[in-house]
């Protein structure tokens, strides 16, 4: 058995696999399928100050090797998450990461302040990249100055490690990554979904009620990998790779490109057993090659 432990700055993970926000709820459904303590960590659904209704349906459209979603951050609000979901998740031996989102800088600060001091949280993941709500954060994630402002503001409200989740819908993701590092982020995670759309050619209508949605799944993997590679070259804080990861081989590509850990998202829908299967595959891949620690893989790209 290879050593799968990695450190995301101050956060020690038993393995580099995290489940991505919005694709794993608060873990309840998956807890029926396998032991959540197998996971390196869980990023919960984007949490806002007040409960959010989300966008009107249809919210899902399948596309080749991927999917579009426009859920729009439907969530019960931070109060309920603290009262009901974090205590549930705390029974598992895994890192609980709370993904937070808001309309305004004040919103983000208020959510972070409420979560500060709550037992059982390993880190906050600041979602400045949700493409599905107006000012759902993406406005902050596509501008260096705005991204830095919000990171600094949230930084003041919390002693928890702060992971900043980046939007790929930008011209230069490295510039944003550098700005949030400078502003005090402990790590960056990337990517959130790519803004996309799909149209029904018979009715001439978009397949999503929201018209636009976020593309995820294997279809985005090469672009996500490129971004992770570039960001890992730019920043010195740990990078979490996200985007279309479906197998251990996909995950290894991200780690070789420089990611310390990775998140799996839509694949949880394609195959609900993906997480435990990827962890097992990672182990045997390393064992077969006589590699003792997965840490030797991180950033091992040869150019």
């Amino acid at each position: 058995m290879a050593d799968l432990r990695v450190n995301l700055g101050k956060i020690a993970l038993k393995n580099p696999l995290l489940t991505a926000s919005g694709t794993f709820g608060y873990g309840r459904e998956f807890a029926d399928i396998y032991d959540l303590s197998l996971l390196g960590g869980i990023c919960v659904k984007g949490t806002t100050l007040e409960p959010r209704l989300g966008n009107s349906p249809p919210r899902i459209a399948e596309t080749t090797a991927g999917m579009l979603n426009s859920v729009g951050l439907q969530n019960p609000g931070v109060g309920k998450v603290i009262d009901e979901e974090i205590p549930f998740l705390s029974q598992f031996d895994t890192a609980i990461i709370i993904n937070i989102a808001g309309h305004s800088c004040d919103d983000y600060q208020a959510v972070a302040a409420k979560l500060d001091g709550v037992a059982g949280i390993a880190a906050l993941e600041l979602n400045i990249s949700c493409p599905n709500v107006k000012q759902g954060g993406m406005a902050f994630g596509v501008d260096c100055a705005a991204a830095a402002t919000i990171v600094k503001a949230v930084r003041r409200q919390t002693s928890l490690p702060l992971i900043v989740k980046l939007s790929p819908n930008v011209t230069d993701i490295c510039a944003i990554a550098a700005a949030v590092e400078e502003a005090g982020a402990d790590a960056v995670s990337l990517v959130n979904t790519f803004l996309g759309m799909a149209i029904d050619i018979e009715s001439h209508r978009p397949l999503l009620a929201n018209v636009l949605g976020g593309l995820s799944g294997p279809a985005i993997k090469p672009i996500a990998l490129r971004m992770v590679y570039q960001v890992a070259q730019t920043v010195s804080i740990p990078v979490i790779g996200i985007g279309g990861i479906c197998t251990a081989a996909d995950a290894l590509e991200f780690m070789i490109a420089g990611a310390t850990a990775f998140e799996i998202g839509s694949v949880n829908f394609h195959n609900p057993l993906a997480a435990p299967q990827i962890i097992t595959e990672l182990n045997s891949w390393l064992d077969q090659r006589g590699i003792n620690s997965i840490r030797d893989i991180i950033g091992s790209i040869k150019i």
Binding site: I60, E62, A65, P218
Partner: protein
């Protein structure tokens, strides 16, 4: 919820656009209830990325199998029709909240449209075991879209309406709603427009009614918040409820169509 590798017992065409799929999934069959559904994996690759929700048309607990009747729509259902006998595919199920059979339901009306007819059969079987008198109304585009008529006739009084008049009454199924309905419960599954007509009609006639809804699904497990429908809570506030988890069967009074 169970993830089971199902073995295909049979997968064959029954009508120009409809196929019938029998799968051996003993654990899922043992747990399944009428009105619930399963997620079917259309192919092993990643190109067709999501699973397809399909209602249970037969639950054979002894034989350990389930039956699905599905209409060929586009890529996913085409791929499902290409799965051969003896092949194995991943099935997730049984999922969702199914039909509710109230005690002392003496008379029930079942209304089905298109592929929605499929999920009414296990309900009819369970109702008839409770000695409920069953009437069933079936709507379809044409006689080429009618299935399970013989099976239903064993338990129920069947009336049919087809859009083109090729079988039964010509027109929409709403055209054959009974004039003086006397039922303890109405159950309906079919296209949105049909469900709307049923919702209005049962409200006017003050009949308890359950509707089975369809919506585009991501996970089928209740996690992704993709397949929501608009619903009213007890205080009349509007919220979004998950078709896969809180439904697919809803009390007609709760949902906004």
């Amino acid at each position: 919820m169970i993830i089971e590798q199902g073995r295909i017992l049979a997968n064959h065409q029954i009508l120009p656009h409809y196929w019938c799929l029998d799968i051996i999934v003993p654990q899922i069959a043992a747990a399944a209830q009428p009105g619930q559904f399963v997620m079917v994996t259309p192919s092993k690759g990643l190109e067709i990325f999501l699973k397809r929700p399909m209602s249970l048309n037969r639950i054979d607990r002894q034989g350990g199998s389930i039956r699905i009747i599905y209409k060929i729509h586009a890529n996913g259902t085409k791929a499902i029709s290409q799965i051969g006998e003896g092949e194995k595919i991943d099935i997730l199920g049984p999922l969702g909240y199914g039909w509710q059979i109230e005690q002392n339901c003496r008379r029930a009306l079942l209304i089905g449209g298109g592929s929605g007819v499929a999920s009414l059969l296990p309900l009819a079987i369970d109702l008839s075991a409770e000695n409920t008198k069953i009437d069933i109304l079936i709507g379809a585009a044409s006689k080429d879209e009618l299935f399970c008529l013989d099976e239903f006739s064993a338990f129920a009084e069947v009336s049919v309406a087809t859009d083109d008049g090729s079988f039964g009454t010509c027109g929409l199924v709403s055209g054959i709603f009974p004039v003086q309905p006397n039922y303890d419960t109405v159950y309906a599954c079919g296209p949105r427009a049909m469900l709307k007509a049923v919702q209005q009609w049962t409200e006017q006639n003050n009949l308890p009614c359950q509707l089975s809804l369809e919506e585009k699904m991501g996970c089928g497990l209740g996690t992704c918040m993709g397949c929501v429908c608009s619903a009213k809570d007890a205080d009349g506030n509007i919220n979004y409820r998950r078709v896969c988890h809180d439904g697919p069967v809803f009390n007609s009074k709760e949902v906004e169509l």
